[in-house]
């Protein structure tokens, strides 16, 4: 889904300002804080999303978890490029994703079992890393979809946006129960919900250029 510009363009943001990751990284190693800020602006959301995907429960239960892990990720990044001297990471996006996941794993181990010796089983239980979140390309694509969905939500009219905010109530219950909870008939709810999804789908397809096929229609649940 990501419209990769090729070369060292790993995300759409580089193409908009025309500055490559390599250039920014060289500047950062030279101590340029403006370049570092641009790098952060470019990848901070991906770092945060990676942490979220790797540790949903902690992110949703502890309001400081995400900020804390993201901060240590960036600090770890700085330390690693200092150590690396002339060696530049080949793919900065993948590098940051790896650092973020390592930070999550380390933090989760400390939280779960601070005083017990580690073992593979314990570590597996303590670290709630989602394996599917390790591919930087997939993460970037998922994040892009989430961001675009969020943007498209804002483009809906107030009524549709209000209904979309009832996502949990609609999808976690049967149509009849959801309609009762929302104070409308089942048929009204089904048709309105279908319209919301269609509008969002059209918007997402327009922004990404990739069709998003519906799944299973609006069957009974």
């Amino acid at each position: 889904m990501v419209n990769d510009g090729g070369g060292d363009c790993e995300s759409g943001r580089e193409s908009s300002d025309g500055v490559s990751d390599e250039f920014l990284l060289d500047a950062v190693i030279g101590g340029d804080d403006v370049a570092f800020r641009r790098l952060i602006d470019r990848y901070d959301r991906l770092v945060r999303y990676t942490i979220f995907r790797a540790s949903r429960k902690q992110c949703l239960s502890d309001p400081h978890w995400l900020d804390s892990i993201a901060s240590t990720t960036w600090s770890g990044f700085v330390r690693s490029i200092r150590r690396g001297s002339g060696d530049r990471p080949a793919a900065l996006r993948a590098y940051l994703v790896r650092i973020a996941r390592n930070q999550v794993a380390g933090a989760a181990r400390k939280v779960a079992r601070p005083d017990q010796p580690s073992s593979p089983a314990l570590e597996s239980a303590a670290t709630t890393l989602d394996d599917s979140s390790s591919d930087p390309q997939q993460l970037a694509e998922s994040l892009e979809l989430v961001e675009i969905t969020r943007d498209c939500l804002l483009e809906l009219d107030e009524g549709d946006r209000s209904l979309a905010s009832q996502l949990g109530a609609i999808t976690e219950h049967r149509w009849r129960d959801a309609a009762d909870a929302l104070g409308m008939s089942e048929s009204t709810l089904r048709s309105r919900w279908k319209r919301v999804l269609e509008r969002l789908r059209a918007c997402v397809e327009r922004k990404t250029g990739v069709p998003v096929a519906p799944k299973g229609g609006g069957g009974d649940h």
């Binding site: 101590g31 570092f36 945060r48 993201a70 600090s75 989430v146 961001e147 949990g168 999804l197």
Partner: protein, 142 residues
């Protein structure tokens, strides 16, 4: 929504993900001091190393200069002390000797006093004492 995850429309899944991500704070910016972190990055890189080498070279030069000049200064002091000490000793020894040799004009030289007959007239008199005083007014290195 654990039971219906595989039944959701992709847009519904994306909506759900966006909602959770929003709640978790994914769309906030990480609070960072970019300048401080960037300076840490810079101090370890090539530019930082060049700076370190440059200042290290300057420091080494200063140390070497201090050592060299300090050594020369110490050597000068030592020489001055030796010279002055030697001169003092020589002066004392010479003063005692010339006084014992002083016999007056036309008196024969005593044994060991020939060195004080500065005008070589065969005696050690006040003329010779005057010559001795002139010789040791500006001490010479032995």
């Amino acid at each position: 929504m654990p039971d219906r995850r595989d039944q959701l429309d992709p847009i519904e899944s994306a909506l759900h993900e966006a909602e959770l991500a929003e709640r978790a704070g994914v769309f906030r910016a990480t609070p960072l001091d970019a300048r401080s972190l960037a300076s840490q990055a810079g101090s370890g890189g090539p530019r930082g190393r060049r700076l370190a080498l440059r200042w290290g070279a300057v420091a080494a030069l200063v140390v070497i200069t201090v050592l060299v000049w300090g050594g020369m200064f110490a050597s000068q002091i030592a020489q001055l002390r030796t010279r002055s000490r030697g001169t003092t000793i020589l002066q004392v020894a010479s003063a005692e000797s010339i006084s014992s040799c002083l016999a007056g004009p036309a008196e024969a030289l005593s044994a060991g006093c020939r060195a004080f007959d500065y005008d070589a007239d065969g005696d050690v008199d006040m003329v010779d004492v005057s010559s001795y005083q002139l010789a040791y007014a500006a001490p010479r290195q032995q």
